[in-house]
C-alpha cells in the first residue's frame, strides 16, 4: 500500500493505477477499483485532469525549443531572440534594363530621366489570365551614356524588378497610445517581401512634405547608435510583419507626431516566376517637347526566386544556422548558407577552401555556383555577389573567387532489350521511357555539386520502369569542353577526373599550322596531332613530335604550347575519352552532367 501518491506517471492508465494504489491505503470507500462505481467516475475525472496537465506541460516544453516546436508563434518568438526575421513570401525578381527613345527634340535639358518607384512593368508572357505586375522599389535616374557628345543613349544599368503590387501604409507616432518607445506598426497585408520594405519618416502628419528621412533596416548592431536612422522588422503570431523603431540607444527614437510611410510589395510568391517579357506599365515619361517617351524593357534574366511563406521545417533549419553564422563568413557552411539565403539564382553551390584546391592557394575561398538559368553565372552576377554579399560579410584577409563550374560531360549510348510479350508498349515508347529516366536521373541525382553518377543506380532505375525490360547497358564516353584562345600559343589542362582507357582520347577538328587537325593519344602517355593534307585529304601524323602528355591514372591531359587557329565546327575544343570505372564523383568545382543520350531498344526473341 502506497502512503504517498506516485507522481511519475504520464500515461492515463498508469496515473489512474497510482491513484487507486494510493486509495487502497484507506478504508472509507471500498468501490474505488470497480469500473462504473461512483468513486471510479471521480477517479476518471481526477486522472483526466492530471493527464491533461501532464500533456500541457509536455507541449509547453516542446514549444520552448526550436527543434521540437510545432507552432509558428513559438518559432517566430525564438527567431526574434536570435535576430532572425522569419520570411513571408518572396517576390520573384527579374533583371532588366530600360532603354528610352530619346532624340534632340524630346531630350530633357538636364539630360536625365527619373523613373519613380512603384508599378513599373507587366509581364506579357503569362500563360493564363494571371496578371503579373513588376515593381521598381527605389527611384532610378537614367542618364545619357553616349560617348558621342551629340548621341543619345539613354539606358539604365541592370535593374531588379519585384513581382507584386506596390502598397503603402501610414502611421503617426502617438505617445498617448503607448508611452514607451516601442509602438508597433503592423503591415496591413501578409504576403510581403521584407526586402522591399522602405520606410520614410516625415516630421509632421503629412506625406506631402519633401522633408523626410529614409530609415534603413538594421543589420549590424555594432554600427548602430542613438542617432542611426534604422528600423527593425519582426513578425506577429499571424505572420504579419511589424516595424519597430529605435529607443534612442539602439536607433533613433521617433518623436511624437512623426508621420511614417511604409511602402512594400505585396507579392504572389512562386506565381511570379518565369516572366520573360515585359511591357512598361509605369507613369508616362514626358519629353521636353511634351511627347510621351517610348520605354523599352530588355530582359536580362527572367523572373525567379518567388516563393511562399517560410515553412515551419525551413524555420527550424534556418534559425539556428543563421545564429551559427553570426553574420560572418568563416566556415564553408557559412558561405553556402548566406549565398543561398541572399542570392536567388542558385541551383547548386560548392565552396572550397584554397588549401583543398589544386594547386593549393592559401587565404582564398573558391565558390562555384550553378545558376538556375544557364550553366554559368554572368560576370555581372559575379560582381553583384562579390560586392553586395561577400564583401559585406567576409573576413578581411580572406579573398574570395567565384569560379565557373567545370562540367564533366557524359555521353551515353544505351542499349536496352525488352520482351514484347510482357508489355503493350512499343519499342519507341520503351526508348522514350529509357530516355526520360536518364534525363530525370541527370536532373535529380547527377548534375549537382553533391551529385554523382552510378551506372548501377541508373540501370536499376531503368529496369524498374517496366517489367518487360530485360537488360540495359550504357556505353560511356567522357567529354570535356575547353574554350581555346585562337591564334595564340597556349597550353591546355584537361582534367577528366578519373582513370582513362589508353588510346581512347580524341579531340574534335581544329585548324593547326593551317591544316585541319585533331589530337589523340598514342597509348604511351603522349599527345599526338594528326593533320589532313590539303592536296589529297590524306591523313598524316607529326612524327617524333609530341604535343603534350596524358596521365591515364589521374585523367589529366597537359598540352604543350600549341596555337589553334580556329575550331572547324563551333568555338569549343571538345575532347572525348573512355573511362575505366563506371561511377563518377565530382571534385572541387566539377559537376557531372549527362550530355548526349542515344538509346537503342531491341526486342527479345521469344522463339530462340
Amino acid at each position: 500500500m502506497a502512503k504517498n501518491l506516485k507522481v511519475n506517471a504520464l500515461d492515463f492508465d498508469e496515473l489512474k493505477a497510482n491513484l487507486i494504489e494510493f486509495l487502497q491505503g484507506q478504508e472509507k470507500f471500498k468501490d474505488y477499483n470497480f469500473y462504473g462505481s461512483g468513486f471510479d467516475v471521480i477517479l476518471d475525472s481526477l486522472t483526466y485532469n492530471s493527464f491533461y496537465m501532464g500533456t500541457f506541460a509536455h507541449l509547453l516544453a516542446n514549444e520552448a525549443f526550436i527543434d521540437s516546436a510545432n507552432l509558428r508563434d513559438s518559432l517566430t518568438s525564438k527567431a526574434k531572440l536570435l535576430n532572425y526575421i522569419p520570411k513571408s513570401s518572396f517576390s520573384a525578381i527579374a533583371d532588366a534594363n530600360v532603354v528610352l527613345d530619346i532624340n534632340a527634340e524630346n531630350q530633357p535639358t538636364d539630360e536625365k530621366f527619373l523613373i519613380e518607384r512603384g508599378t513599373f512593368a507587366k509581364s506579357t508572357n503569362s500563360v493564363s489570365s494571371l496578371v503579373r505586375n513588376f515593381i521598381l522599389i527605389d527611384d532610378v535616374y537614367i542618364y545619357n551614356k553616349s560617348i558621342d557628345a551629340s548621341g543619345f543613349d539613354y539606358q539604365s544599368d541592370t535593374l531588379q524588378i519585384y513581382e507584386g503590387t506596390f502598397q503603402k501604409d501610414y502611421y503617426t507616432k502617438d505617445v498617448s497610445q503607448n508611452s514607451t518607445w516601442n509602438q508597433i506598426y503592423r503591415l496591413t497585408v501578409k504576403d510581403v517581401d521584407y526586402r522591399t520594405i522602405r520606410v520614410k519618416v516625415y516630421p509632421n502628419d503629412t506625406a506631402e512634405d519633401s522633408n523626410f528621412v529614409s530609415y534603413k533596416l538594421a543589420s549590424d548592431f555594432m554600427q548602430i547608435d542613438g542617432a542611426s536612422n534604422i528600423f527593425f522588422i519582426t513578425t506577429d503570431d499571424k505572420g504579419y510583419y511589424e516595424i519597430l523603431f529605435g529607443n534612442g540607444v539602439y536607433g533613433r527614437e521617433l518623436e511624437n507626431g512623426n508621420y511614417i510611410e511604409i511602402s512594400y510589395v505585396e507579392n504572389q510568391g512562386e506565381l511570379g516566376n518565369d516572366a520573360r517579357e515585359f511591357l512598361y506599365n509605369g507613369n508616362d515619361l514626358i519629353g521636353k517637347d511634351g511627347s510621351v517617351i517610348d520605354v523599352t524593357i530588355n530582359t536580362e534574366m527572367a523572373s525567379d526566386g518567388g516563393r511562399g511563406e517560410e515553412t515551419l521545417e525551413e524555420l527550424k533549419y534556418n534559425v539556428p544556422h543563421h545564429y551559427k553564422r553570426q553574420n560572418r563568413l568563416v566556415t564553408i557552411e557559412d558561405y553556402k548558407s548566406i549565398l543561398l539565403s541572399e542570392y536567388n539564382n542558385i541551383q547548386s553551390i560548392n565552396v572550397l577552401g584554397g588549401e583543398d584546391n589544386y594547386p593549393k592557394v592559401y587565404g582564398r575561398v573558391f565558390i562555384s555556383i550553378k545558376p538556375k538559368v544557364g550553366d554559368i553565372l554572368s560576370s555581372k552576377a559575379k560582381e553583384t555577389i562579390q560586392k553586395t554579399i561577400l564583401e559585406k560579410y567576409n573576413i578581411v584577409t580572406i579573398d574570395t573567387t567565384i569560379v565557373d563550374v567545370d562540367f564533366l560531360y557524359l555521353n551515353l549510348t544505351n542499349q536496352t532489350k525488352f520482351d514484347p510479350l510482357q508489355t503493350d508498349l512499343s519499342s519507341g515508347q520503351i526508348a522514350n521511357l529509357v530516355n526520360d529516366t536518364i534525363n530525370n536521373y541527370d536532373t535529380n541525382q547527377v548534375s549537382r555539386f553533391d551529385g554523382y553518377y552510378s551506372n548501377a543506380n541508373l540501370y536499376e532505375s531503368i529496369l524498374n520502369q517496366d517489367d518487360s525490360i530485360i537488360s540495359t547497358f550504357n556505353y560511356i564516353m567522357l567529354e570535356k569542353q575547353t574554350k581555346p584562345a585562337f591564334e595564340t600559343s597556349q597550353s591546355y589542362t584537361i582534367d577528366f577526373n578519373g582513370k582513362l582507357v589508353k588510346k581512347s582520347i580524341i579531340s574534335n577538328e581544329f585548324t593547326f599550322r593551317g591544316l585541319p587537325s585533331h589530337f589523340d593519344d598514342d597509348g604511351m602517355g603522349n599527345i599526338v596531332i594528326h593533320y589532313e593534307s590539303l592536296i589529297d585529304g590524306t591523313k598524316y601524323t607529326y612524327l617524333d613530335e609530341y604535343f603534350g602528355t596524358v596521365d591515364y591514372d589521374t585523367g589529366i591531359i597537359n598540352t604543350s604550347n600549341i596555337v589553334i587557329d580556329e575550331i572547324v565546327n563551333g568555338d569549343l575544343l571538345i575532347t572525348e575519352s573512355m573511362p575505366i570505372e563506371p561511377d563518377f564523383y565530382p571534385l572541387r568545382n566539377n559537376i557531372i552532367k549527362i550530355n548526349k543520350v542515344s538509346v537503342t531498344v531491341t526486342e527479345y526473341d521469344n522463339n530462340k
Binding site: F12, F29, K30, F34, Y35, G36, V41
Partner: protein, 132 residues
C-alpha cells in the same frame, strides 16, 4: 472516518451528491444500492465517458433511439449481459428480462444477480429511456 460495520462489503459515493442529514457530508451507498448505481453507470455509459477505453461503452443508450420492437429488445438484452459480465466481476448475472414499454418510450429491465460475498439473490428493476 465513519465506523464500518462488518456486514457492509461494498461502499461508494452517491453520485446524486445528496447531503447526509446527520453529518452534512456527502451521502454514501452500501452493498446492493452501491452495486445498483454501478450497474446503471456501466450500462448507460456514453462514448468517451471512459477516457482511452472506448471498449467500455457499447452504446446501450444509442439503442434506445432505435425503433422499439422485439429485435431491439433482444439486442439490448445481449448487450446488457455482455457488459455486466465484462465489467462487473463482483456479480454473477442469473437472468435478464428486457420488456418493451411502448407507451413510455422505453424498456423495463429486470436483472437478477448474485453478489460475491452475499448469499441472497437480488433482482434490480430499471427503466431505460432516452432521457438521462
Amino acid at each position: 472516518m465513519g465506523k464500518q460495520t462488518q456486514d457492509k462489503f461494498y461502499s461508494d459515493l452517491d453520485l446524486t451528491f445528496t447531503i447526509h442529514p446527520l453529518n452534512n457530508d456527502i451521502s454514501m451507498l452500501y452493498d446492493e444500492r452501491s452495486i445498483d448505481q454501478n450497474m446503471y453507470n456501466v450500462m448507460m455509459g456514453n462514448n468517451g465517458d471512459a477516457k482511452f477505453h472506448p471498449e467500455k461503452c457499447i452504446g446501450i443508450r444509442d439503442m434506445l433511439f432505435e425503433p422499439i420492437n422485439i429485435l431491439t429488445e433482444a439486442d439490448l438484452r445481449a448487450k446488457i449481459e455482455f457488459i455486466l459480465q465484462m465489467w462487473m466481476p463482483r456479480i454473477k448475472v442469473i437472468k435478464i428480462d428486457v420488456i418493451q414499454n411502448v407507451n413510455a418510450d422505453g424498456y423495463n429491465v429486470s436483472i437478477t444477480y448474485k453478489t460475491i460475498n452475499i448469499i441472497d439473490e437480488r433482482t434490480t428493476t430499471l427503466f431505460l429511456d432516452r432521457i438521462r
